[in-house]
């Protein structure tokens, strides 16, 4: 099956499983083998074998995503964490059908600041590179953390469109541009790290899909390149193709682009610029379980 058809097929499998998930039979919708992820003991006796990095623009939900993979996010009662201003390090044991894998994961802060650059310099070099990267995107629903930052964004958008011209679509278009620029920069660093390396993998986790579940196919076509490179392809696809062309399809055989949601949370940017969550908790559990399966599958290879 052609490269991108595989990626698209996996997206469809994950989305179908979530669609089938119900309150009584969440497990029935699980499309892949059961995988567990748990933190290693406080005093680990063995060193982690697989280095993994979680990247993405600020406010995409990287910290929550990894917490969710570890089973730390309670869908009934969870208080989202504040903005991460340092690199978070996790030592995790992933249990798969073929055994256990010890993984060291770093969650790189999204904001362009010292911690992010340090992490790129230290962990994305030829001598020390991640075997796998989970890059988190969110279809333009990034959280802008501080109220004065949100106001500055609104004021700037209003200055070119008029205050009545700023709506969710305008804001999302702006956020998608930011997300693309961040992905482009991440790819530049990955090219350094993965040049000529075999057996590396990439997962693009399209997070917060509870906010756009009915329109998820649009997101799928934005993030997953089509076989045959159509002219209307998104700029994101072009950047992704460029990375894979540089690293080599043979070296980067494992690529997955999957929808995921960790927590049903209404997106509120400002009065009138908001979007309600549109899926049920069992579907969220199914999506997280599917992503966990993909991570386990890739780490175990």
């Amino acid at each position: 099956m052609p490269y991108w058809d595989n990626v698209r097929h996996r997206w469809l499998a994950v989305a179908d499983a979530a669609e089938r998930a119900t309150n009584n039979a969440a497990a029935a919708g699980r499309p892949m083998p059961h995988v567990t992820m748990k933190p290693m003991s406080v005093v680990p006796l063995r060193r982690p074998r697989v280095p993994v990095a979680v990247t993405g623009l600020g406010g995409a939900g990287k910290t929550m995503l990894y917490d969710s993979l570890l089973g730390k996010v309670d869908l009934i009662d969870y208080r989202p964490k504040d903005r991460s201003d340092t690199v978070e390090t996790h030592r995790t044991v992933i249990g798969t059908d073929s055994g256990k894998v010890r993984v060291k994961t770093i969650v790189v802060p999204g904001q362009w600041a010292g911690p992010k650059l340090d992490a790129f310099r230290r962990d994305f070099s030829e001598s020390r590179m991640p075997s796998g990267v989970i890059h988190v995107v969110c279809w333009g629903y990034n959280r802008v953390w501080e109220s004065y930052e949100r106001q500055a964004v609104l004021d700037d958008l209003a200055s070119t469109r008029g205050s009545g011209g700023v709506n969710l679509d305008v804001l999302r278009a702006r956020n998608l541009d930011e997300e693309l620029e961040d992905f482009r920069e991440t790819c530049v660093r990955l090219k350094d790290a993965w040049k000529g390396r075999r057996g590396v993998w990439l997962i693009i986790a399209v997070a917060k899909c509870d906010l756009f579940w009915p329109g998820r196919n649009l997101a799928r076509d934005y993030y997953i390149p089509a076989t045959g490179r159509p002219a209307s392809e998104s700029r994101f696809c072009a950047v992704l193709r460029d990375l894979i062309g540089y690293v080599g399809e043979a070296n980067l055989q494992d690529v997955a682009i999957v929808p995921v949601s960790c927590f049903p949370e209404t997106y509120i940017f400002d009065t009138g610029i908001e979007q309600r969550s549109d899926i049920e908790p069992p579907q969220i559990s199914s999506l997280v379980g599917s992503l966990r399966s993909v991570v386990g599958e890739f780490c175990a290879r």
Binding site: R83, P115, D156, S159, D177
Partner: protein
């Protein structure tokens, strides 16, 4: 009656020049914060060093000379009082104002750079910045912390 959009004059969009002025201002604050932090570290070192030096010198002086117990006690008390005065003065007039200054400047700096990080993409696209200018601006912004860390 004119609608609200016409009554309120539309703000001009953030320009590259505005961006540069704000970034220069933040860089100036960063220099001030770094200077204040160095002063705090020096003051902390002196606050430890002065009593230590006084104690060592006192021990040597008492050990070397043939002073009586009462004289040694009075000498020690006087030296301790002087050392405490010196340390108190350092804390009150150097350390506390420096820590306050760091907090104030850092809050302003973090707020300015937080806004600049959010606006850089739209400003650079609107004004058609070159790749090297974007890279330079991003690298300059990356020197700033994401949140205040106080006098540490």
């Amino acid at each position: 009656m004119p609608d609200n959009n016409e009554m309120v004059p539309r703000e001009s969009p953030t320009s590259g020049e505005d961006f540069e002025i704000a970034l220069l201002q933040a860089e100036s604050l960063l220099r001030d914060v770094d200077r204040s932090r160095a002063r705090v570290r020096l003051t902390q070192a002196l606050s430890l060093g002065i009593p230590l030096a006084v104690a060592v010198m006192l021990t040597l002086a008492i050990g070397a000379g043939s002073v009586g117990a009462l004289t040694a006690l009075i000498l020690a008390a006087v030296c301790a009082a002087l050392a405490a005065l010196a340390v108190g003065w350092l804390q009150l007039f150097i350390l506390v104002p420096a820590v306050r200054r760091i907090g104030r400047d850092e809050r302003a700096m973090v707020e300015i750079t937080g806004v600049l990080r959010e606006l850089m993409g739209t400003v650079s696209e609107r004004e058609g910045w070159s790749a090297s200018r974007k890279h330079l601006a991003r690298t300059r912004i990356a020197r700033f912390p994401i949140s205040s860390r106080g006098s540490r």
